[in-house]
């Protein structure tokens, strides 16, 4: 044991001597590199947990969409594709400004960091504003899941969008039959299934919006230290970490948008 002991005593780590620990290097880290790599790995691990978190909702969505395709098409057609597309563009731009902010932090340009952070905040807020508008529309249209939910008759699913008038075979092998009139009002269960779509819509976009709000808050929190020159080549972990978080939230939206807004929109 004593041989090991003496080996332990001769430290060969590359950090500064006792008493010379810089203030922006936490006391338990031995070097800036260790601090930076730990922060980075920590953020990535956190993002993995976020993937699993959203993953549950995605799983529920996949399951119910395959079970009730018409209801999901009907529900999706109530969403505003134009606003959704604009929002997608807004978010992608905000990722660009975020990446610029991180670059500026790496280069230690205090004003640039703050400027790009503000730009990202503005774009993120625009996204949230458009989302709020959409939610308001849904509220007006009685599409919030709950007691008040009701899908208008004119929005109910039909057979390939056209009324069926031609002579079609029955479902039973070997028999045929004649015309049928159009439906007057949707049955109760289509309402229930479309409500499921909207529950998942609000759940997924709502959770996403919550993450955006937190993200905007984090960005705002970074502005002051940026202007104080706290971030430089050695130590820009917070900007980089929050940047990673922002990009992740963006990517979640890239999945949400086609899954929710573009169901059955072809031709």
């Amino acid at each position: 044991m004593s041989e090991m002991q003496s080996a332990a005593m001769t430290s060969s780590s590359a950090h500064a001597h006792a008493g010379d620990h810089p203030s922006n290097l936490a006391h338990h880290f031995q070097s800036y590199e260790q601090q930076r790599e730990s922060a980075s790995l920590g953020v990535w691990v956190f993002l993995v947990t976020e993937i699993m978190f959203f993953g549950g909702l995605f799983t529920a969505y996949i399951l119910y969409r395959s079970r009730y395709p018409e209801a999901f098409i009907a529900g999706s057609h109530q969403l505003d594709v134009m606003l959704g597309t604009v929002n997608t563009a807004v978010l992608i731009c905000s990722s660009l400004t975020m990446a610029m902010a991180v670059r500026s932090a790496q280069l230690g340009r205090a004003k640039a960091i703050a400027g790009f952070l503000v730009a990202t905040i503005i774009l993120g807020s625009a996204f949230l504003g458009i989302k709020a508008t959409e939610y308001h529309h849904k509220w007006v249209e009685h599409l919030i899941p709950g007691a008040d939910f009701h899908l208008e008759a004119s929005h109910l699913p039909t057979s390939h969008g056209k009324p069926v008038t031609s002579d079609l075979p029955t479902g039973i092998v070997g028999e045929s039959r004649a015309d049928v009139p159009l439906p007057a009002a949707g049955p109760k269960d289509i309402q229930a299934h479309t409500q499921l779509f909207f529950f998942l819509y609000f759940g997924m976009t709502g959770l996403h919006a919550l993450h955006m709000i937190i993200g905007v808050g984090l960005l705002a929190w970074l502005i002051r230290p940026s202007l104080q020159g706290r971030f430089d080549g050695n130590n820009h972990n917070y900007v980089e970490g929050i940047g990673l978080y922002w990009h992740f939230v963006d990517i979640v939206w890239i999945f949400l948008f086609p899954l929710l807004y573009l169901v059955g929109r072809h031709g």
Binding site: H27, Q34, S38, T49, F53, G56, A60, G146, Q195
Partner: protein, 560 residues
């Protein structure tokens, strides 16, 4: 040489007072605002112990009720809340946080030669989140408690019960983040904070076990979080996700729930296995046999553990082909555990075996975990599960693993590292009495439950047919002994903190970086980070008695 005078050298003279993490600062604020992983471990120790007592009291009442076939001690309603809260408190507030929160927090930085975990503030936040979640659940308990079973199956929990489900669910949701953050902290620490020269395969197996546990915590816990949110949404707004009347599927809830809750059981057992590896190595004074296999088996358990969740649903109406797949995978997940048991046993061969109390707990673990694990193979067998699913057989199975396994591992770890954590020694005679009482009480409590289960006594039954009474009385008698058994260590541990003999740096003559610091360790753990050039358990390479530099006198604070 008698067992009672085995090799332990208490320090005879009072040592020079020196500064360590306990006396470095006093006052409530220094504890509640600490960033020291060692103090946070003590905070966890206090809180998990409180929840253990609470859950244990419920168990006592349950077993008292079950001494008679009629439901005559408490009403059915109360009984249902008792077993539900017993499960919730024990699982989420004791078994999941205990070993990682107490022993993992305290030891991982020491074992890898670091000054703290990677994110000390997040570590403290973890504890606070755990406490807040616990308070929510405690509040729900005061409001009457929930009666859905800890499994919360829909639609009972979403549409039919009148108990504070959302409050408890919220408590578990919040506590889940504590688990996630602890896992995150451990993963980053183990990757990035190892001392120079400390390669992965020189790490103590305790660290490997906690790494695997952390992987599960990170990947699994978010799923129960979203499940709870869906449950709450269904309960509040009746959106129909689990309600068949609205197009939803109750079995979907079961899939979501078990996707986390099965890996969760590996969160509860893997750290205990890590402890056992340390105990076997230390008290046989040789490396764990098959180190690489034991290390990889922890990872294998973590990975395979995510693939077997539907073995809780063999009779729930899933397709027979799905059931067959999950049955095979469940057989596979048993193999890494078997590998560990065989390797630990082989480690004893030609060892230098001490009969100290930590070793007794470790050996108790190996025996009882083997029984519990093999009954798990029985449950994975489709034909057998048809009969014993949702009976007392299941209850016996998981208590063998959780109490006979995880809690014994925890007790063994507490007994092993107590001198390091507190700087005090506990009375060896009483510690052995405690271990024996717990072992006997445990087996008398839970072995009859295997028989009861095969007889067909269902779970969660408040009243039962007369012919089940004899076995129930046996089980309740054992529970009394088990409860007393847990009281004994509680008493002498507390006693030791005031009256126990002072411990030297390495009372067990063990190898590990944690034994190279004083007992208790200084605040910064190491004055200089060591460079490691040796494997984890190289007893054959060294003399066992350590020689350390004299402890720094109190008052001389050195910042590194």
């Amino acid at each position: 040489m008698s067992a009672l005078t085995d090799f332990v050298e208490p320090v005879e003279e009072a040592p020079e007072p020196y500064e360590h993490y306990l006396n470095h600062k006093y006052g409530l604020a220094s504890w509640l605002l600490t960033k020291d992983h060692k103090r946070i471990a003590i905070l966890y120790l206090i809180s998990v112990s409180l929840f253990f007592v609470l859950g244990g009291v419920m168990a006592v009442i349950i077993r008292l009720e079950l001494t008679t076939p009629e439901g005559d001690l408490v009403q059915a309603d109360i009984y249902n809340r008792l077993f539900t809260m017993h499960g919730i408190l024990m699982i989420f507030f004791f078994l999941i946080p205990a070993i990682p929160g107490v022993l993992g927090n305290f030891l991982i930085p020491l074992m890898i030669g670091a000054k703290d975990l990677a994110f000390p503030k997040i570590n403290l936040l973890s504890w606070y989140i755990y406490v807040v979640g616990g308070l929510f659940t405690f509040y729900a308990l005061l409001a009457g408690g929930v009666d859905t079973g800890w499994t919360f199956y829909a639609p009972l929990s979403t549409s039919y019960t009148n108990t504070p489900v959302i409050t408890v669910a919220l408590g578990i949701f919040i506590t889940g983040f504590s688990s996630i953050l602890t896992g995150l902290n451990f993963v980053v620490t183990i990757h990035r904070m190892r001392a120079p020269g400390l390669t992965w395969f020189r790490l103590p197996l305790f660290v490997w076990a906690h790494y695997a546990t952390s992987l599960i915590q990170i990947l699994g816990t978010p799923v129960i979080a979203i499940t709870i949110l869906l449950l709450a949404a269904e309960r509040i707004a009746h959106v129909g996700i689990f309600d068949p009347k609205l197009g939803g599927d109750p079995v979907l809830f079961q899939h979501f729930f078990w996707f986390y809750s099965h890996p969760a059981v590996y969160i509860m057992i893997l750290p205990a296995m890590g402890v056992v590896s340390e105990l076997v190595a230390a008290f046989a004074r040789k490396p764990v046999f098959g180190y690489h296999f034991v290390a990889f088996s922890s990872i294998a358990i973590a990975v395979l553990g995510f693939l077997v969740w539907a073995h809780h649903m063999f009779v729930a109406g899933i397709s027979v082909y799905a059931a067959a797949v999950f049955s095979i995978l469940s057989m596979l997940v048993a193999i890494p555990s078997a590998v560990k048991v065989f390797n630990w046993t082989t480690t004893l061969y030609k060892g230098s075996i001490s009969w100290e109390t930590p070793m007794l707990y470790a050996l108790g673990f190996i025996g009882l975990f083997t029984i519990g694990g093999l009954t798990g193979v029985m449950l994975a067998t489709l034909g057998i599960d048809l009969h014993v699913h949702d009976t007392y057989f299941i209850i016996a199975h998981f208590h063998y693993i959780m109490v006979g396994g995880a809690i014994m591992g925890y007790m063994g770890g507490l007994h092993y590292w107590w001198p390091k954590i507190t700087g005090k020694l506990y009375p060896r005679f009483w510690s052995k009495v405690g271990a024996l009482t717990i072992f006997i009480g445990f087996n008398v409590t839970f072995f009859p439950q295997f028989i009861l289960g095969y007889l067909g006594m269902p779970r969660r039954y408040h009243a039962y047919p007369n012919e089940f009474q004899v076995l129930n009385v046996m089980s309740s008698a054992g529970a009394t002994v088990l409860g007393l058994g847990y009281l004994i260590p509680a008493i002498y541990f507390i006693w030791s903190m005031r009256y126990g003999k002072d411990a030297s740096a390495n009372p067990w003559g063990a190898i590990g970086l944690e034994w190279e610091t004083n007992s208790p360790p200084p605040v910064e753990n190491f004055d200089e980070i060591p460079t490691v050039t040796w494997g984890a358990y190289e007893y054959h390479e060294s003399k066992v008695t350590p020689s350390l530099p004299p402890p720094r006198p109190k008052g001389e604070v050195v910042r590194v």
